[in-house]
Structures are given as C-alpha cells and as structure tokens.
C-alpha cells in the first residue's frame, strides 16, 4: 500500500472454523474513517446484526490500531478493543495503553478481528505471518498476570505482548476487562467477558516489522517537536509526577468527588487519597506506555498494615474514587489491594466499585437484607468487606454472582425500587464525575455511545476555568456561560466540539492525556501531522477531520439505534436530576438535561424527538449504506 502509516491488512481469526484470513483495507475506508475506532465501527455495524447476543459466537471482538500507532508521535502506543457490549448490549469500546497495539502493527496488521467461538480453551498467537490457536487448557483459571508470564515462557520470548482474560472473564462477569502488561486495562464495557465467551484466554502478539510513514524526515522532525511540547508542558510535568491522583484534590475542591455512591461530592477523608499523601509513602517507580514521555503510571508498594506486601501498578484517580470515596474508605492501601484484585481477576474498577456502592446503599435502605447477601452486613467504610466482595464477584460466588451482572441488571433482579440507587447510563456505571457540579459531563454521560462515559467528551476547559482556551475554541461571545460549570447554556457546543476532537484522537489512536488534561494537542495539530504520516493531503484540513469525526459519532449512534436506543435512553440516574448536591461549592445544584439534549441533537443533526440521525445528516456524512 502506498499510503503511509498503515500496514493495510486486517487479520481475521475465525475460532469456529479454525481458519485465518488476511483482508486488505479498502482505500475509501481510510478516507472516510482514518482508522482505529472508525474501522472498527464500520466492521461491527456491517458484520454484527442487530439483536445479536453479545456473548454468542456471532459477536466479534475487534482489536484496532491507528495510522500512527507505533511511531514516534507522542503517546501513540494505544489501541482499542471493540465489540457489542457484554454488559450494555450496545456499542462498546475500550482503549488500552501498554505495548500491545504497536506490536500488532509491527507484526504487520492494522486490525485483528476475532470471530466465532472455540470449542476448547485457546490463546491466539500472532507472530508476524504466523498465526496459531494454541491450547490454553492449562492456563484456564490463572490470573491475568500469571497467564501473561506463562505465555511468554511458553514462547520463550519476554517481548511477546499479551492481552489476557482473568478468572472474571472466564466466568463471564459482565464488566470483565482485558489486561495487558500486567496492569494496563481495557477496562470498561466487559471486553473480558466477550473474549471469555469465545473460549479465548489471551491474545499474544509479537512483531518484528516496522511502521513506515509517508514523509519520514518531516514527520520525525514534527514528532520530536511534539515530544518537546509534552516535556515542557507544566500540567504534563505534574501528571508525570503524580499521575491522575492529582485529580483527587481538584475534585474535592470543586465538590465533585463522588462519595457514598454519588450521594455527595465532598469526602472528608480525601487527603489520604491524594497524590501528596500517596507518592512519598508508597510509590516506588514511574512507568510509561509505548512512546510516552509523560509516564503517569505509578508502581506502588504497601510496606505495612493489613495489606502489607501488596505490589501493583495503580490505581488511578478512577480507582481511588471507585474503592475510596464512593465506598467511604479513606485508606490508600485498600484501594491498591482492590485495584490489584481487579487486575488479577480482570475486572473494571469503575464498574466493580460503583456496583458495590450500589449494593451498600440498597442494603442501607433495607431493599436487600442479610438473607440476600448470605449473611454479609454491607456498610460504608469497610475495607475487609470490599476485598471479600471483589473476590466473590470475580469467582461469581454467592452474592457476588448477582453483583457480577453489573448494577443495572442486579437492580432489575432485586426489584423493590433498587434501580434508584444504581448509578448507570445505558447499563454502564457512572465514572468519577458528577453532572451536578460539572454540567457538560452530565451531557457527556447521558449521550455517550457506550453509556456513562467520561472519555468520549469530557470537557475540562469549563471545569478548570481555562477562559482563554475557551474563547479561542468556541468564541468570546459564549463567555462567561460556557465555562460556568453550573449553567446548561452552550454546554452542548463545548461537548460536541470536544467529542469531535476526541473522536479523531480515538481513530489515530493517541492517549487521552495528550489532548485533554493537559490539552497539549488539538485538532489542528493532528491536521498538521496526518498528511506527513499518511501522505493524504485532505487530512490536513480540520474541516475534513471534523466531518470524519461526525461520521463516526453518527455511525455509532446508528449502531445503537438498531438496538433500540433513542432519546429516552440518553438519561442520567434520578439522583443527578432530582437530588440537589447536598454540600460543597455546588450545593443545591441539579442537572437540567433536556435543554442540553435539544442543543446537542441540533448540533449533531439528529432528530429532536427521537434522538436519531436525520436523513439529511446521514446523506451529508455518506452513511446511506448503514440504513
């Protein structure tokens, strides 16, 4: 293929038929979707019909990279897993750092599509042109970390990159994750359950090839300048030192640290979950994903106390939130141990923590009792209980079997009004933000294609009050409302523009932290770089990139629409709409979702009544094939 950046090949592994096929990537896909998320959306829409049971052989797991994956561009080592969601039954994607994405490119493929279901436990081995389904019966039941080591030993190569399913994925825990490099998680939406349902323990990849870009000299020069920008950026430096822990203090200050299952946004014990507290006491090394000069990953060790000897990477802010403030626990070692259990079993920390929070509140309200929990007394601030529950979920034991279904399904089975305490959108648990004190994230959570999503359009400019950035991006006329976190006005504008940029980010695929917090790169930087990488001049226009982003957002919407998603599903839990924030700077605030939804649909060209893309929009984006 003459276009730079891509290998131009899709590797298809069919487990049912035991066959392997290599497809060429059509050139018009590249011009319409760029890569990553976009290609995956195209394949999933065409090949997984509506109504497919996510855990049936008909579902497909797509592992995708972008045109600059494996190059010198900052933070380009990420990759994405896409499938129909195990927990949600709609569009599901989960991005992961580490080193496995570039390895797929070096092996010679842009995408890997896993189809069907194997009769026996296997792992998929890809070594350049060589592809094999290796017997994994001896690996079944092992933790993600053990499986990774075993596979590397078996292949006699420590550089084999492994994405592994843990016991949770094998038992089809609905929020099971895939773990690469021992602790980097494709966490959300249950990709582990999808792979587990296919009888696949792991995907192991080793590549010896390289990635060629269209204009090597200029691309390298630009990438080096871009690396330099990351290095001197003050927020990036802080991220390198503290990781996302830095957010705990920020969230507490603005009253948005989810506490007691999102009942409030202020947590008295926040200090013990903050970077200042953790780093000097527990952190032993900084680590980075492929091609990243930021190094936000922290390896931590607990020297004493009940969890003495715990050595693990993480948790990030979301983990601190999910096992700390949400459950009323002001104890860092507990969050590290909980995070470790999630990594070993292969479970999403946000969904696991929030589901436990739901159970505790439902217990407190008398909706579930000791008869339901098998004698467990659920209460806030109970470290031992959380650890015990996590193990039970991972093994699907007793009460854990119910929680393994996620909060929406657990609430449905419990009944008696439990739904009120399940903090989810479209079945995916709410992440560590609160729409009441940060209105734009309320809209993001409600409209996210995969459910309550903080990675698809989290606007940080308004929350952190970057007035100049906001003026440049959205026009000075929209100030001050657009950066006031407590008004609905113009929020859809900010969300749509951010969502478009993030969409390009996810097709390239680069790290969240290079575009959002801190915002080092934006759409025009990608427009400058992409023609050098690919040799396609039209990628140099931000208008064209915006159009590609709109196409992808709309295609994902069409995928969801086929599963019955409409405006009525773009909702938030009742708590965010009706219970005013009880304390802190955002005291008395609630989300008024409807006006923001109207604005959002209007900007997207979707129908106001149904929330579905209009015929005009579908034609404008050349998506007629998808109707």
């Amino acid at each position: 293929m003459s276009i730079g950046g891509y290998t131009g090949k899709i590797l298809r592994v069919n487990l049912s038929q035991d066959t392997v096929r290599v497809d060429k990537i059509p050139q018009d896909w590249i011009r319409q979707f760029i890569g990553g998320d976009g290609f995956a959306a195209r394949i999933l829409y065409e090949e997984v019909p509506s109504g497919t049971n996510p855990l049936s052989p008909a579902n497909k797991l797509i592992f995708a990279t972008g045109p600059i994956t494996g190059t010198l561009w900052p933070m380009s080592g990420r990759s994405v897993f896409v499938a129909k969601g195990a927990q949600t039954g709609i569009w599901a994607e989960s991005h992961v750092g580490g080193f496995i994405g570039p390895e797929l490119k070096y092996a010679g493929y842009d995408l890997l599509v896993v189809e069907g279901r194997s009769e026996r436990p296997v792992y998929i081995l890809v070594e350049d042109d060589y592809v094999e389904l290796v017997d994994a019966s001896k690996l079944w039941g092992l933790s993600t970390s053990e499986a990774t080591v075993k596979i590397q030993e078996q292949q006699r190569d420590p550089d084999v990159q492994v994405a592994a399913v843990g016991p949770a994925g094998e038992r089809l825990v609905k929020f099971a994750s895939l773990i690469v490099n021992h602790a980097r998680a494709a966490g959300r939406t249950g990709m582990g359950a999808i792979l587990g349902s296919k009888n696949v323990k792991a995907i192991a990849i080793r590549g010896h090839g390289g990635v060629r870009v269209a204009n090597h000299e200029e691309f390298v020069a630009l990438a080096k300048r871009a690396q330099e920008r990351v290095r001197v950026n003050p927020q990036a430096k802080e991220m390198g030192q503290w990781g996302t822990w830095i957010l705990t203090a920020v969230k507490q200050e603005i009253g948005e640290l989810p506490t007691y299952n999102h009942r409030t946004g202020v947590f008295p014990g926040w200090e013990q979950l903050s970077g200042d507290y953790i780093r000097p006491r527990y952190t032993i090394s900084d680590r980075a994903c492929f091609g990243c000069s930021l190094a936000c990953k922290k390896v931590n060790y607990i020297p004493d106390g009940p969890f003495a000897g715990t050595l693990e990477e993480g948790p990030e802010y979301e983990g601190l939130m999910a096992f700390g403030s949400t459950l009323g626990i002001a104890d860092y070692p507990t969050t590290l141990r909980a995070n470790q259990i999630c990594n070993k079993y292969g479970m999403d920390v946000i969904s696991a923590g929030t589901t436990i929070g739901f159970a505790i509140e439902a217990f407190e309200q008398g909706i579930i009792t000791e008869a339901d929990t098998g004698g467990l007394k659920l209460q806030w601030n109970d470290s031992a209980l959380v650890i015990q529950l996590l193990e039970m979920i991972g093994k699907r034991e007793g009460f854990g079997d119910l929680l393994a279904e996620g909060s929406r399904e657990a609430a449905r089975r419990i009944g008696k009004g439990a739904e009120k305490y399940a903090m989810h959108v479209k079945g995916l648990e709410i992440s560590g933000q609160d729409g009441r004190t940060h209105r734009s994230i309320g809209l993001s959570h409600a409209t996210g294609a995969r459910g309550a999503d903080h990675l698809r359009s989290l606007v940080t400019v308004d929350q952190l009050g970057y007035e100049e950035v906001a003026a440049k991006r959205w026009g000075r006329d929209k100030l001050p409302e657009i950066i006031n976190p407590y008004t609905e006005k113009y929020k859809a504008t900010a969300v749509v523009e951010t969502e478009n940029t993030y969409c390009i980010r996810d097709t390239l695929i680069v790290c969240w932290y290079s575009v959002s917090w801190p915002p080092i790169f934006w759409m025009d930087d990608f427009a400058e770089m992409l023609p050098l990488a690919t040799g396609i001049a039209e990628f140099g226009s931000t208008e064209r990139l915006t159009e590609i982003a709109e196409r992808q957002v709309t295609l994902k919407r069409l995928f969801n629409a086929r599963e019955g998603i409409t405006r009525k599903d773009d909702q938030l839990p009742e708590r965010f709409l009706k219970d005013p924030m009880p304390e802190g700077p955002g005291k008395g605030q609630v989300v008024h979702l409807d006006p923001m939804l109207d604005d959002y649909y209007r900007l997207r060209g979707w129908d106001l009544e149904t929330g579905l893309p209009t015929d005009d929009t579908i034609r404008r984006l050349s998506l007629q094939w998808a109707t």
Partner: protein, 165 residues
C-alpha cells in the same frame, strides 16, 4: 596521554520503559519505526515495575571484537568506539551471541549485522530520552554533572532559608 572515551551510560531507576529511544534509533538509522532494528534495547519487567535500558558499551575488552574470526569488528583507536566493517563481515553472527548487552542484532531482511555507532558522537537515544535515564559522556563527566546539579540545588536551598529568617 590517556583519552577518556565517551560512553552511553544508563540509570535504570530513571527509565520508565517508554521505548522512545528504540523508536528514535530505528527512525534515524533505518528510516522506519522498527524497534527490532534499534541499536539498543529496553528490557522490561512489568510485574516488578522495572525497566532496564541496554546500550552498547563500555567494554574494557570488547567480546564482539575478540570473537570476530575475520576482523570485521574493529575498534577506533582514538574514540575506542567499536564499529563493523560490512565488507569483511561473513555473517557468522558470533558477535550477536557473545555481546554481553545483547544489543548487536541481525537484520534478517537485509541480512546484515547492525550495531550502535553512538550516532557519530551525538546519540539520538540520549536526545529523546525524557527522563535522562540514558546519558552520553565520559563516566566521570556524567558523575560530575550530577554532583554539580545537586550542589546548585543545595546552595539555592541555603539561600532560600537564609532569606526566610
């Protein structure tokens, strides 16, 4: 007169394992982003949170030179840098096996030995390394630079506390 040779030195406690050095190295020498053709290598221990960069030299007695049966691997008498004479190389690959750092490699497509040449005195890996885990200089020099930095910070601290009083 003794000329101290400049060397690549590593501080593994600073390495984050990002492998930017491998990328920059292959980009410069091969015109492609291909870590398998890089002249250095990050050895990763993900389960321990440890990454160790492996670079070429310094070798008091270079095994690659000693083992080469056709004298293709030679040492520059002034810079002490070991280089390979591709015209003489018979591809026996002994140097790969004997290298204690594991950084001499075989390009299996072009069938040639590849080896670090310190980029002629301005190594790419050092320039791209975001944490300073890889440095270039005589071992003594790099140590002095470190000490000098520490001293400067120490003096600044004395001045600051004096002012506070």
């Amino acid at each position: 007169m003794v000329t101290l040779q400049k060397q690549l030195s590593v501080d593994y406690t600073k390495c984050t394992g990002c492998r930017l050095c491998e990328l920059a190295c292959s980009a410069k020498h091969e015109g492609v982003f291909q870590p398998s053709l890089a002249r250095l290598r990050i050895v990763k221990y993900d389960d321990l949170g440890l990454d160790v960069p492996n670079v070429c030299g310094p070798c008091e007695e270079a095994p690659c030179v000693e083992v080469c049966p056709v004298y293709a691997m030679r040492r520059d008498p002034v810079t002490k840098m070991v280089y390979i004479d591709h015209d003489k190389c018979i591809l026996c690959k002994s140097c790969i096996g004997v290298c204690v750092h594991g950084v001499i490699r075989l390009d299996t497509v072009a069938m040639r030995i590849i080896k670090c040449d310190h980029c002629g005195g301005d190594p790419e890996c050092v320039k791209i390394c975001p944490t300073g885990a890889i440095t270039y200089g005589t071992p003594a020099q790099t140590a002095v630079v470190e000490r000098h930095g520490k001293l400067k910070a120490y003096v600044a601290e004395i001045k600051r506390t004096a002012k506070a009083k």
